[in-house]
């Protein structure tokens, strides 16, 4: 990943390590238990060097590693009505939201950005599993719609990174309605003949899988990602038997025809560049070290890719 070390500006660098304070230099792999040093994790994009487990990568870090030079512009997302049902279980939903915002430094569970990957203009949306398990509520729906609309306006592909425990129960029926809402967003891209690529990351479950995550032109998953509608525990309770090893994991879904590819995180960027350039009818990517891209204020001035030519 020398393009990162070469071109990432100091400001971005400090942003990248923002969540890893000195007292938190070591992270335990939740799969094999190995203690991993933060610098190493940054290098491997949060992939365990011992077992290859792909740990959660928050949207901001993912975008820094995805976009050329780590440079991207956030696409604004219309705010959603806060706590539309006035929901409380043991705790108020509004309170849960505030602590999720405090812990993550993000407004909600999805981030939308535009920028270039390998000099290919794209719009990207990424779901934040660290924000209330990435759950899909009105805001996530708004984010997907904003992403699709922006992609259509700019004539760019949309790449969506999914990660969610499912629907946001605290928004009740309104969270369920994000399934058709997000589907309408996908239809905007299809009507405009723009590629919609879904990268399914661990875990992608419930209503998220059963809507926009399974409607891509291309489905790529990260290795070992749990991808399902009903979770393994629910199924075990229903059928009263143990599920086989690897059930509902990315490799299993690939074998059962639900995915196009499984690609390790380290290769994902190159995969996405190749695929989007093929689908957009662009020339092969110029590899090697390129000068840093223009500042993020000017992406619109670049020659826009025209899917029709």
């Amino acid at each position: 990943m020398n393009w990162i070390s070469n071109y990432v500006r100091p400001k971005i660098n400090s942003l990248f390590s923002r969540r890893e304070m000195p007292e938190n230099l070591w992270t335990k792999c939740d799969e094999c238990g190995t203690m991993l040093f933060h610098r190493e994790l940054r290098e491997t994009l949060n992939v365990c060097s011992n077992c290859g487990h792909h740990m959660t990568l928050v949207p901001r870090d993912r975008f820094i590693s995805l976009f050329d030079g780590g440079v991207f512009t956030e696409v604004p997302v219309p705010p959603a009505t806060p706590d539309p049902l006035n929901f409380r279980d043991g705790r108020r939903y509004a309170e849960r939201m505030r602590s999720a915002q405090r812990d993550t430094g993000e407004a909600e569970a999805m981030l939308v950005a535009e920028g270039d990957i390998g000099r290919t203009p794209i719009v990207a949306a990424a779901q934040d599993f660290s924000f209330m398990a990435g759950s899909m509520g009105m805001y996530v729906g708004n984010a997907i719609i904003a992403a699709a609309e922006r992609a259509v306006t700019l004539g760019r592909p949309l790449i969506l990174f999914s990660a969610a425990g499912g629907a946001r129960m605290q928004e009740g029926i309104l969270s369920l309605m994000q399934m058709p809402r997000a589907t309408v967003a996908v239809q905007m891209l299809k009507d405009a003949r723009l590629p919609y690529i879904v990268v399914l990351t661990h875990p992608t479950t419930g209503g998220v899988t059963a809507s926009y995550a399974m409607l891509g032109d291309i489905h790529i998953a990260e290795p070992g990602a749990l991808i399902c509608f009903a979770g393994p525990r629910v199924i075990e309770q229903t059928i009263r038997e143990k599920l086989p090893e690897g059930f509902q994991r990315a490799e299993y879904l690939l074998e059962h025809g639900m995915l196009d590819r499984v690609a390790p995180r380290q290769d994902m960027r190159e995969e996405l560049i190749t695929i989007t350039r093929l689908l957009m009818g662009l020339s092969p990517e110029v590899k090697g070290e390129l000068p840093a891209p223009a500042p993020p204020s000017a992406p619109e001035t670049k020659p826009a890719a025209d899917p029709q030519t």
């Binding site: 009505t81 706590d83 539309p84 049902l85 006035n86 929901f87 409380r88 279980d89 043991g90 009105m138 719609i145 629907a167 129960m169 605290q170 928004e171 009740g172 029926i173 309104l174 969270s175 369920l176 309605m177 399934m179 058709p180 809402r181 589907t183 309408v184 996908v186 239809q187 419930g206 209503g207 899988t209 059963a210 809507s211 926009y212 995550a213 399974m214 409607l215 991808i227 399902c228 509608f229 009903a230 629910v234 199924i235 229903t238 059928i239 599920l243 059930f247 509902q248 059962h256 025809g257 639900m258």
Partner: protein, 334 residues
Amino acid sequence: MRGHIDAIGNPGAPMHTYLDFEKPLSEIEGKAEELRAMARSNAEMDVEREAAALDAKAQSLLASLYSDLTPWRKCQVARHPDRPHTSRYIADLFTDYTPLAGDRGFADDQAVLGGLARFNDRPVVVLGHEKGANTQGRLTHNFGMARPEGYRKAVRLMDLADRFSLPVVALVDTPGAYPGKGAEERGQSEAIARATEKCLSIGVPMVSVIVGEGGSGGAVALASGDRVAMLEHSVYSVISPEGCASILWKDAGKMREAAEALRLTAQDLATLGVIDRIIPEPVGGAQRAPEDTVASVGIAIAELLAELDGTEREALIAARRKRFLDMGANGLAA
């Protein structure tokens, strides 16, 4: 996934399945029936006045119980085994019903029924989840929990409707999509997503009626059309109250609280702008007077279809998409 029904046995009374909150009612109705049974075996006894008084008492209790059902009680009513199910609606409201089977890939899933039919003489495609009316039926129809083949059959039927310009009538009644091993292997998520997508892209009118349980994604797959109506005591939710309670309250027994918090009643959904119409149920719920319920649903379907008549394909699709894009913007203040 499914809630238990506390059926209180009451030999002698008409074949009612009483819900737990209907216990006082079952006692009164039981007593009235007992009196009449005694009178039948003893000609000297005159019990009619007393029995009639009990009937009146039962009727007023029934009315008061059902005038103010809590969300959890509505869930129980929505799941009542004697409620009319999809096959009953099809039999009573449609003619020339010609069931069509199969997803053309793997199997025919009996949890989703559908086919060609006439509604008020007009050719349509009708489809819906079927829960089954008795033990055998429930097994055949898998309690209305569809596998991918069910949703793929629905997609096929919606495509057929689109090609031949037939309106689609969908009846929604499912605890949710079936959480099974095979269902997951064969792409439950993709099948649901494609069915929702199909609802949103056909160029013919689509009216859905939630007649019992609208359980999560499995319901959305058949309810993403132009108009959605709900029977008065039906429910529509992102998760079952039991499921929500076990996740958020860490106690499945807190389903009453969860049902309250989820806002899953027809009344709340109308306030939120998620549904277009509430269809009133007879006193005591659909299960007490299935025939009247079916007739009311028929009238609602006719009126909702009439609202959509004459709309061009493109305008229909655009309005349907806008309906969902605009949905929920104001929360309960809608």
